[in-house]
Amino acid sequence: MAMTEAHSTGIWSWLTTVDHKRIAIMYFVVGFAFLLVAGFEGQLIRLQLAAPERSFLDPDLYNQLFTMHGTTMVFFAGMPLVVAFFNFVVPLQIGARDVAFPRLNAFSFWVFLFGGLFLYASVPLRMMPDGGWFAYMPLTNREYSPGLGIDFYVLSLLISGVGSIAGGLNFLVTILNMRAPGMTFMRMPLFTWMALIVSALILLAFPPFTVGLIFMLFDRSFGTHFFDAAAGADPILWQHLFWVFGHPEVYILILPAFGIVSDVIPTFSRKILFGYPVVVFSGVLIAFLGFGVWVHHMFSVGLGPVVNAVFGGATMLIAIPTGIKIFNWIATMWGGRLRFRTAMLYAAGLVATFTIGGLSGVMHSSPPADLQQTDTYFVVAHFHYVLIGGTVFGLFCGFYYWFPKATGRMLHEGLGKAHFWLTFLALNVTFFPMHFSGLLGMPRRTYTYAEGLGLDIFNLISTIGAFIFTLSFVPLVWNLWRTWRRGEAAGPNPWDASTLEWTTASPPPHYNFAEIPTVDRRDPLWHPYIEPESRDEGDEPGGAVPRRQPDEPPEPVVMPNPSYWPLVLAVGMLLMTIGALGSLGLTLFGLLVTAVGLFAWAFEPPFGEEAH
């Protein structure tokens, strides 16, 4: 029964799916759509700033656009694209048939989608939030932001945050409990390792943010005074709650990219990862230190020399494990046989551009230097090098790497390379000049700048770079269209890679593995080429490599049933969210739908009859 359902297509099968691979595709498509929308917003911002004192956008619209650009990129493009890769890759890499909680997984997707759509409902209503993605109090209080814009921001992030926390929990449990026999922690592929770390980060970082959002909601809607200086409270509290989330969020976005690159570089160097345990533990260390550095977003607040010294020092420490990763990637390539397929180009591009972003990061880890750089275009340059040169390059790297696995077809290499070189050029032309405009005195979040500050040429170059970015999507779309029409078949392991996902068919059957593989080493598919490091790591040769699976499962496979209750529950929460804009009746109705969905979900049998 489960099998026939999952093999069916059509809208209903997508609405009720609990298959991690289908959920991954939905996350990817929606996340990519939001990436395009937010990229378009960035393009509009660059058009306004192409020359001094332009009036292409009025200040209110400009403020709305940069708020939407940042909020969308972080929460509705970056996060879902990362989660899309978690969904597709992690179960396959650990030899599992699905995630631990398949229905919860579907629920996470639906609330994320509804959160994003809810945020964008503010566009036709012309009530877009305009307080920045960081939404500093008291500017975002009802007194200074009387419209519904900030409410759209708060509520959309609250609802999608539920999905993020559920997703973090799901992948944490999946990786801890669903690994194939013999897949010990120190045999896990790096991407799975980073997914594990990031899941823990999500679980720890989102709660304080959620608390802050609820405080903000209460201050705005019910007249509480959590951030009201006039009532004796401290508006700085919001900044702490936001950044104790906001900084780990950066690592939530970058560590998966590091994980992808740590799998791709060995594949295309034809050489196992250099210093595997060091790369793993440097990731753990980055995540751990990531919770102790949030004040580096607040050096100009005036918290005093001791606080700034401690957080400045902690921030500098992060450069060490980050550098270790870069050196280990280089050492992996050293002595290898580098094959510059598109995925490898993006991996190499990440190592180069992330290094630039990391070094400018060290520059403002020093609090006195940061007092000049914070809130200027220097910081805009820095984090775009990190988030595009790091996260986006990593995601494109993973896209070109796992696309044949997900679809069974090969992308065109020439078009892929054109895509890489255009994005590489666009990144540097757009954001490198911002180092200069920032140091020469251009603050962020300003809809215009005066003539005579010497900023004109840098801004013009940045705007030209933004056009190259827009252009860079042409070869990508062309490539997808071409592959859709006539892509060559990929086969199970087109890159001659080493990890478990390449043992199964491309695309994998919905049960992933007809037989759960047994693992007895790292990089199991490269077993014949690798000398064991020590006796206890590699045991009897030969028996370790998972056998190539036949197309039909030889033994019964039990798969979870499709279910529409996650969708019902998410709709109930969406109704409550819309109601929170001012309709108590709708909120109560949404609560009812939520309750019904929750109970029906709880009493629904998770597994059908055995499939054959």
């Binding site: 200074y144 004796g232 005036g302 020093s366 007092l371 215009t448």
Partner: protein
């Protein structure tokens, strides 16, 4: 093709660097004119050169690896290497040592810059950030002014920063790093200017619609010039001499102007907007948006929302004659 791309990149960077070094940059962090800004600039220089050094080394190794280890036809599988303990220790220690070299001057600078000024002779200036302009008060001198502060050369300036509404950030890059203006808290920022001049600054913390146009000027004067400015600005406004300015004063007092603006020595005691007692001596209008000329002032009075969208000053219905008279009056407030 690759070589040409690299050459183009180098050329492009060269143009950028030459752009960054020459020319006129009134709001630059790289052209310090005070002790505090110079300290930060020197620290930045050190870190910058460390970063360039690391980038050249890492970039050089990367390019070497990309070229040297490309797969060539007939290559077999390379030797598999698990790791190397000494290398790992080496590339952990090397960055750590560089960071120590950065951290030591950093810590020294933090404990100078983030502390109150030790100078007992410092000139205290209160700065109050408001959407979207700056109020400057000199408690020792009895001066209240807006958007432009004069300070004497060679004397430490001790700013006391407050906000009347939302977060702002005080930033005059050539004189000091940023310091936020936080509701409910008084922050401090100090610097001692080392050359005479007009320094541009603007709000650096997003504060709403007209955040981009919340500019200011800090004017560093020779001590004698500062004394003259301070004496003049402590006085109440003089009664205008010519007829048109006197008519303008009448227009001012009869309209909404008085409910927000103060002109000391007259019945105008509004507190919401900038104090205009010595408006005629200021360099700019609307916190740095326009140069203070009669034409610009007329434009501002006629269409404030066009010049600075979103600002709280309403567009009062005024005839051309009334605007001319107001311009004469405000210009006479020197």
């Amino acid at each position: 093709m690759r070589r040409r791309a690299i050459a183009a990149l180098v050329l492009f960077l060269g143009v950028l660097v030459s752009q960054g070094c020459g020319g006129e940059y009134p709001q630059s962090t790289l052209h310090p004119s005070s002790d505090s800004a110079t300290l930060i600039d020197q620290l930045f220089d050190q870190i910058f050169w460390w970063a360039v050094g690391v980038f050249v080394v890492v970039g050089g190794i990367l390019i070497y690896v990309f070229v040297r280890f490309r797969e060539r036809p007939g290559d077999g599988r390379p030797k598999q290497v698990h790791g190397h303990l000494l290398l790992e220790v080496g590339w952990t220690l090397a960055p750590a040592l560089i960071l120590v070299a950065i951290a030591i001057p950093t810590m020294r600078a933090i404990f100078i810059i983030d502390r109150s000024t030790p100078d007992p002779e410092a000139l205290v200036v209160e700065v109050i950030g408001k959407q979207w302009w700056w109020e400057f008060r000199y408690p020792e001198l009895g001066i209240v002014t807006a958007n432009e502060a004069h300070v004497p050369l060679g004397r430490t300036v001790d700013l006391r920063l407050r906000s009347a509404d939302v977060m702002h950030s005080f930033w005059v890059p050539r004189l000091a790093g940023k310091r936020d203006l936080v509701p409910g808290i008084e922050n401090q920022l100090w610097f001692r200017p080392d050359s005479v001049g007009v320094y541009h600054g603007q709000c650096a913390e997003f504060c709403g619609t007209a955040h981009a146009l919340m500019g200011m000027r800090l004017i560093v004067d020779e001590p004698a010039d500062f004394e003259r400015w301070a004496r003049a600005n402590a006085e109440p406004a003089s009664t205008p001499a010519d007829a048109e300015a006197r008519a303008g004063q009448g227009v001012f007092m009869a309209n909404a102007c008085v409910s927000c603006h103060a002109v000391r020595g007259t019945p105008a005691e509004g507190q919401f907007g900038p104090d205009l007692t010595h408006f005629g001596s200021r360099l700019t209008i609307a916190s740095g948006v326009l140069e203070n000329t009669p034409e610009n002032l007329a434009r501002w009075l006629d269409s404030t929302q066009h010049v600075k969208p979103g600002n709280p000053m309403p567009e009062v219905e005024l005839s051309d004659a009334q605007i001319r008279q107001l311009v004469a009056y405000l210009g006479s407030l020197r």
